[in-house]
Subunit: 225 residues, 2 copies
DNA sequence: AACGATTCGATATATTTATATTGATAATAA
DNA sequence: TTATTATCAATATAAATATATCGAATCGTT
């Protein structure tokens, strides 16, 4: 049954690529491109055409032989699939350097995401605004979650405090957590956690590099580290 | 042949989990734990024991029945595997909000990573210091790469400028790029790119949430979006 | 000293994901 | 109008990853 595939669970690797397709395709649309083929998408993004095609088949978009996908149609299919149309408000806890960077990250808005407010305990920042977003005392978090029906939280506090903040979020009715602290949060499985671990991430790049540059050059190099 | 497995290519999913093991195990070590089993690691990190065991078998560490791994030994095995002992210096381009956040991220140092300097074209920041790291004019990037033998770069500039900066990095001898701009960089395949796409990342969390909360509640809910 | 419980390591199976192949369809050109 | 080519869609195969199983080793206990 065609057209029903998008009801199915999208494979995680596909889901991870989808926003990246969207970003690339948006740029192409701004450049005036109207139709686009899997082959050209794949080339620009360092993938292979079959994979792009298979990924896009999880959206409602259909391509046509010889011309590919109509770009506008494909974009809106991706928007539907990824839910960029329904606006989602989030609260951020921890207005330190990473928190501040996120508050300044205006790109979220294009994807239906907004950070409604930040919370902190540091008197130096509480009461100020960062990029037009208020920094409120942490004590107000719980009640505002209820009042504003906010269901998503961003944790930008140090590792030691992260579990406590997660507990507060859970108790306040938060259902999805974007966690920048380098610890595995313990939350009920009604709550979804998405970890962003910068240190882990960069350390992967370095390891990949070392692996590549040891395999070929000297066969004994492996022993040295 | 035991002990040779760590010469093999580590599967990417395993490699991604390794720094997270390391972070968790470091915390346990600070708490005074001396021995630890796969089961307890798995429980704390939301995994299953077999997977943890298989992952750790890519390091040089060996566990003992009934007691598990000696924590100190396991940590140093992970350090060796991930290369945390050899210090790596990086250059950052784009001292905006994300760039600044990374410059303040002192945790990198514990993992053998240092940001030696930042580069920008904005006269308001060039010449200043951020967290004791100098912000230099972009024009000096290339020569300093050669002089200081820096092989890793971090791109924190807007999407429109990212490809140009990547070209500059490649021309300056950079071999690994940590890219925060939401575009797929075009670089020679001698250069390794690791993308950090915050917008894509959060959009995955939201989609996962929506998928979960539509499958069960109303069977017709799927049609509405 | 023998037994049971626990945990690792290795092997085997299952699942997921990626890649290749084939056939059908639409646009273009002869 | 017919042939040709580019492209998608669907199916089939291959590869990678995750999970389960089983035997051996160690520690604590009886």
């Amino acid at each position: 049954m065609p057209g029903e595939k998008n009801l199915l669970q999208i494979p995680l690797p596909t889901l991870k690529r989808m926003p990246v397709y969207y970003q690339y395709l948006s740029r192409q649309a701004r450049k005036g491109v109207t139709d686009i083929s899997c082959a050209s998408i794949a080339k620009a993004m360092g993938l292979v055409a079959v994979q792009v095609r298979k990924d896009l088949q999880y959206t409602a978009a259909v391509g046509r032989p010889k011309t590919g996908y109509h770009l506008k149609e494909l974009l809106s299919a991706l928007e539907d699939t990824l839910g960029y149309n329904n606006k989602t408000e989030m609260f951020l806890i921890g207005a330190g350097s990473i928190g501040t960077a996120l508050l300044f990250h205006n790109q979220f808005r294009d994807y239906g995401i907004g950070i409604a407010a930040a919370f902190d305990i540091n008197p130096a920042v509480v009461g100020t605004e960062i990029n037009n977003k208020p920094v409120l005392p942490l004590s107000k978090f719980s009640s505002l979650c209820g009042r504003m029906h906010v269901k998503f939280g961003i944790i930008c506090v140090p590792a030691e405090e992260a579990q406590g903040i997660a507990d507060l979020m859970v108790a306040s009715g938060i259902l999805g957590i974007w966690n920048f602290a380098p610890i595995t949060l313990d939350v009920p499985d009604t709550v979804l956690v998405h970890n962003e671990n910068l240190t882990a991430s960069i350390s992967i790049l370095l390891k990949k590099f070392k692996t590549r540059n040891s395999g070929s050059e000297r066969e004994s190099a492996c022993r040295t580290s």
